[in-house]
Structure formats: C-alpha cells, structure tokens
C-alpha cells in the first residue's frame, strides 16, 4: 500500500510539474543480456547509454540491468523497470522479444524498444543496425590482402544476423576474388575467449590467413597478432589488443540513435517505428584502417562511401544461392524482410545451415 501511494504521489507530482511547463526528468532504462564488462555487444549498448547521459544532461536519468538471462527472468526485469517508472526501456537482445511484447502490453503508457527483433506494438518500437554493410567492406579488404585466398570466420550461433554477415562478407570478397573461400567455425557461445582463441588457431593451421569474427571477445585478434596474421575487430575497436593485426573493426555505435529517441520522449514526439539504420546514419562505423597498404585503404573507403550514399547495396540482385537458385531482381536490393530472415548461404560458402 505504502509503495502504491508513493508511486501515485510521484506520478501526481510529475503530472503537476509537466503541466506547469517544467520538464520532469525522463527516465531511460536498458537491459543487457551480458555484462557491461564484455567489451563487446552489451558494452557498446552501454556506451550508447552513457552518450545519452552526456548529451541530455539533467533532462534525463538512466538505469540499467545487466546479465539478464533470456528466459523466465526477462519479463520480470522489464516489469521491474516499468514499475520503477522508466519512461522508455530498451531491450537490447533478440531473446527479449516476447517478454518485451508482454510487458509493453501491460504498461501502455510507457514506451519500449526492442533491438534486432521483429514484433512491435503501439508502444513498442524495433530497431536494428545494418551490420552487414560493414561486412561487405571488410570482405573486400580481406580478399585483397589474403595471400592464401582463405579467411577464417568465427561465429557464435546461426541466426539471420550472423548469416547476413557471412553472406555480405563473401559477396564483398567475391568482387575482388571470385574464388575466395571462407572456413567457418561455430563456437556456440557469444563469448568464451578460450574457445575463440582455439578456433582461430585451428583456422590458421588449416590455411586461413585472415580472421573474421562475429563473437565478442578480442581473443581471435590476439592470436592473429601472435602469429603475424591479420584480422578484423567486432563490436568495438580492438586495435589496442592487436596493434599490428587489426585492419579495421565494425563498431556498433548506438549513441546517436539512443540520444535521438530519448529526446523524442522528452519532446513528446516519440512514435513506434521500425528502424534499420547503417553506415549512412552512423550506427555502423568502421574504425580507422590500419596495417594495410594505402591503395587497399582507399578502395575500402570508397566502397564505404558508396554504401553510405546509397549508391551501393551489398545485397543487390541477382544473387546466386548456395543451392544454385537465383534471388533478387537485377539491380535492385533484396527487400528488408528477406534479409531479416535470411537462412541461406551465397554460392561459394562451404557450410550447411540447420534447416
């Protein structure tokens, strides 16, 4: 009872304040599937949160819950945040989707956003980043710099986002070297540095000389550095860990998006929508090109510019799939819905996807 009264009192106060024109503090909250200290996916989302604090100062108050397992605990964590009065809550992992839908329904006056999912509602927006744009560019770089024509690709789980990444990488590589090959290892974990290091070592021993990853730790790059080979960073700029090996990194920069959306909540203009932005809007950033000859860097920068301006779309038809069929209209990019549920490889990839 006491709690209800105090919330009611706070709510009344907030209403009174906003009615009088004074801006009540907007509370923006986040839940992460991993620890903030993973220096990878969740870390980057938290960096975005910190940017919101910096940009919007005392107009906003933030909170977060980390290490929320995708399962029974998710709904409770979301509901708890809603009960604490979070005006907008960002659920940053795919597995939070159904819980987000349920909680959004329970609290129609609060706003929610879900990353990398596909279910939305009046008060539940969805957002995603076109990571595959970065993959296309690094595919080109890899094909240019690899002496063996084989790249090692370390991945976690076969979800569409990862498959998109592999395909975009391959398509980019094939523009430079049509016979480029990748060897794929699924480590079945988003981050276990030891396993990722093992996978990198095995791939190098099997003839790959460039390493690409869609897992979160810096271990594969460290192995590359040790063996004098090259690689790409993931989620964050990992140059500190492999100063001589990192060519570039695909950095998730959620800051601009978060600042924009929280500001909309403050201004009262927030509406549900489905956002899928990429390099153009600054959500996907390639860290500075290092350890490569100037002409390769120039080519990569040009490709990135073309993608940013919309001139080039990595998944422009016609694309030949692994099974030989052709998809996409000539000259037109594949529709977003096809990309979001991608479950096939392009021709040239030697691996099988679970059906």
């Amino acid at each position: 009872m006491k709690k209800f009264l105090s919330i009611a009192a706070a709510a009344a106060l907030a209403v009174a304040l906003s009615a009088s024109g004074a801006a009540a503090k907007v509370k923006a909250c986040w839940i992460y599937v991993g620890p903030v200290g993973d220096f990878g996916y969740s870390y980057q989302h938290d960096q975005g949160r910190l940017e919101v604090e910096k940009a919007l100062g005392d107009q906003v108050e933030t909170a977060f819950v980390e290490n929320v397992p995708e399962g029974p605990d998710t709904e409770r964590a979301l509901e708890r945040l809603a009960r604490e009065g979070c005006n907008i809550t960002f659920a940053t992992s795919f597995g939070f989707m159904d819980a987000a839908v349920k909680v959004a329904k329970k609290f129609p006056d609060l706003k929610f956003e879900h990353a990398t999912g596909y279910k939305s509602a009046e008060n539940l927006a969805i957002y995603n980043a076109r990571f595959y744009e970065g993959r296309y560019v690094i595919g080109q770089i890899a094909a240019k710099l690899s002496k063996t024509g084989v790249a090692g690709y370390i991945v976690s789980f076969p979800i569409p986002e990862v498959v998109m990444g592999i395909n975009a990488f391959m398509l980019g590589a094939q523009t430079v070297n049509p016979d480029f090959k990748i060897k794929i290892i699924w480590v079945n974990s988003w981050y276990d540095p030891g396993k990722e290091a093992d996978a990198a070592k095995v791939l190098f021993s099997q003839g790959a000389d460039i390493i690409v990853q869609h897992t979160d730790s810096t271990a594969p790059l460290q192995v590359a550095q040790e063996q004098g080979k090259l690689g790409f960073g993931q989620s964050s700029d990992m140059i500190k860990f492999a100063p001589k090996s990192q060519l570039t990194a695909i950095v998730d920069d959620w800051g601009p998006y978060y600042v924009r959306r929280v500001k909309e909540v403050i201004d009262g203009t927030w509406k549900t929508q489905s956002t899928w932005e990429g390099m153009k809007e600054g959500l996907v950033v390639l860290s500075p090109f290092t350890n490569m000859p100037d002409d390769v860097a120039k080519m990569a920068a040009e490709t990135a510019e073309k993608i940013k301006s919309g001139e080039l779309h990595p998944f422009t038809g016609p694309i030949t799939r692994q099974d030989g069929t052709v998809v996409g209209e000539a000259g037109k990019p594949l529709p977003d819905t096809d990309l979001l549920s991608m479950n096939w490889y392009v021709k040239g990839v030697d691996d099988k996807l679970p059906q």
């Binding site: 209800f4 029974p72 409770r76 509901e79 604490e84 597995g95 569409p160």
Partner: protein
C-alpha cells in the same frame, strides 16, 4: 589454542530456530559494510535487498514463481542426497523434461484440449526420468561415478535443445530465429490471478508429499538407512542399486517436471536458454534446507528472495549484479557456519591438554 567443535548429544532446538536469524544478521552486517564502502546508505540498501521484495503483491507473486522450480527440483535432490546418490545433473534433466514436454505443442500446435497439459506434464516427467536413468544405469552396471556422468549430460542436453530449436523445431514463421512456436491456450499452465501459475502449487504439493514419503513410509526409511548406514540397509534386505535408480528417476523426473512447468508458463516456448541455472541453484537449496523437503520450501523461498533483492538493488540502487552474487555467497557462508552450532558445540582447546599418541613406528 584451537577452536574445535564436538558433537552435541542431540540437536539444539533453540539454535535450530536461532541460527538462520543470526546468519541473516551477520550477512546484513557485512552487507552494510559493503554498501557503505560503495557510498550507499546501508540501511536503505538492506531494506531494498531484503524487505522491499516482500512489500508489493507483484513482488511476492514473482517470488513464488521464482521459488517454484527451485523447490520442486530441490525437494527431489534432497531425497537423492539423503540416499547418498549424487545427482549433479538436475539442470540437464530440467532441459530434457522441457524438451519432451514441449514436444506436444511444438509438433501438434493445434492440439487444444484439456488433455494437452496433463500429457505435457507427464511427458516432462518422463523426459527428466530418462535423462536421470542414464547415470543411474551406468553406475549400477559399470560402477561409473554418477557425479561425472550426470554433470556431462547437462552439457549434452543443452546442446540438444540448441540443435532442436535452431533446426527441426524452429518456428516456420519466426523469421528463422531460434525459437519454437509459442504455446497457447490449453498448452499453458493456468494461473491463479495473473502471475502465479499452478507450478507453484505443484511444487508445494510435491515437497509435502516427499516429506510424507520420507517420514512416514517404509520407502522413506529405506532411503534414510541406505544413505547413512548402507551395510545395515543391505542386511535389512534393501538393495543399493535399486535405490540409486529410484533416486535418479525421482529427482530426474521432478527436475523434468520443473522444466516443462517453466517452459509452459513464464517462457511460453522452447528457446536456447530456458533456465538461469535452476538445476545448480537447487543443489544449494537442497543443502540449505538441510536435505529436508519442508526445509527446502523455506530455503527455496530464501534463495529466491535473494535473487529478487539482487535485481531490485540493481535498479533501485544502481549497484552491479556482481555485488548481488557476492551477497548471496556471503549469505550462504554465514548460514552454513551458523548451522554448525545446531549439531556441534564449540570448545576452545589448549594444545597441551590434548594428548597426542606418538605414531607407531
């Protein structure tokens, strides 16, 4: 000078009630220090951690829902541990139970009738029993240590679930994401109110039933004797291999039941992660409950409270979830240490007084 504990002639009744209280107080003390070091008001922090989760109806409901699988699995494990059968694989049995039970809604999503749920629960029970059968069989037949076999199967079960939800059982309309179709209608556990599902009732009833089994039946006697005095048990005609099988089937089955209950309620579908480590936490719950099914009810609630408090503290106080884990560890330490006083009496012994026999050369 040496601190020794010597056995009391009988359990100290007073301390049985007092020790958890002392443990909580000690934990609160250490917790207050930790919070103060972090710059928080210790009293407020302790309130958020221990009391606040009990102040709102929603929070209490969540507490019951979180405690239910812990109690269900823990009660089964306590029976197994009394019998000295070390089932460490409850997490895997939980998973396989969820897989078996989930088979019906996934393969026959249109099967809607009052029959579905009981069938799902029975299948879940069966799944857990099958997973528990393997270590028991290997132990009886090959004397293979059950700690290792049951633990290894946890990983295998997890990978099996992963393969199923990414491949054959993937929701065809799920944008190729790793999840099955959502369960609906008769396939979900009914709820009392909006949150508390009958899994809570199942857990409570099971714990009570097991307590009855242990205390009032020949089977219970058999379990206790084979655990504490195996040779006497053999003379009484009880069979150790049969007990191993019984213990694994019971605890495995109950873990499987907990699995399908979780999946048919809060999660609502099969996906790669369906348990935040219930099977392992339940081991702690079993021991904290002093291997007594009624005690397990209490310890399950306490542990669930500590989880709730940890989450609440993260949001309300802004402390990281690592402090919550440290807190839990400290709580457990103090409870274990204070429990000692129930069975043992402390004595400070001076070294000179204790006669040492010279080792025979």
């Amino acid at each position: 000078m040496q601190l020794l504990f010597e056995r009391r002639p009988e359990r100290s009744r007073g301390l049985m009630l007092l020790s958890p209280v002392i443990a909580l107080l000690l934990t609160a003390l250490v917790g207050a220090v930790i919070f103060a070091l972090r710059g928080l008001d210790p009293l407020h922090a302790l309130y958020v951690y221990f009391i606040e989760p009990l102040t709102t109806l929603w929070s209490v409901e969540q507490l019951l829902v979180k405690a239910a699988p812990l109690v269900l699995i823990g009660a089964g494990l306590s029976i197994a541990y009394i019998a000295n059968v070390w089932n460490i694989g409850a997490e895997g049995q939980f998973t396989i139970g969820a897989v078996f039970g989930g088979m019906l809604p996934v393969l026959f999503p249109d099967f809607q009738s009052p029959l579905v749920l009981p069938l799902m629960l029975i299948m879940g029970l069966l799944g857990g029993m099958i997973c528990g059968f393997i270590p028991a069989f290997l132990k009886n037949r090959f004397a293979a240590n059950e700690i290792l076999t049951s633990l290894m199967l946890v990983y295998v079960a997890g990978l099996l679930l992963d393969w199923l939800v990414r491949g054959p059982w993937r929701d065809p309309h799920g944008f190729n994401f790793p999840k099955t179709v959502t369960f609906s209608g008769w396939q979900m556990l009914p709820t009392i109110g909006t949150t508390v599902h009958i899994g809570v009732v199942i857990a409570l009833v099971t714990a009570l039933a097991l307590a009855f089994l242990l205390d009032r039946t020949i089977k219970g006697f058999e379990i206790r004797v084979l655990g504490s005095a195996p040779r006497a048990g053999i003379f009484a005609g009880f069979s150790r291999p049969r007990m191993v099988m019984f213990a694994f089937l019971l605890s495995g089955g109950l873990a499987g039941l907990a699995g399908i209950c979780e999946v048919a309620s809060t999660v609502g579908q099969l996906q790669p992660t369906i348990s935040p480590g219930y099977g392992f936490t339940a081991i702690i719950v079993a021991f904290l409950g002093r291997l007594n099914p009624i005690g397990v009810i209490v310890s399950g609630l306490i542990l669930a409270l500590s989880y709730m408090g940890g989450e609440s503290a993260q949001v309300a106080l802004g402390i990281s979830d690592k402090i919550a884990k440290v807190f839990q560890g400290i709580l457990l330490f103090f409870i274990l240490a204070c429990d000692t006083f129930i069975l043992y009496r402390p004595r400070v012994v001076s070294r000179r007084a204790a006669p040492e026999l010279a080792p025979a050369e």
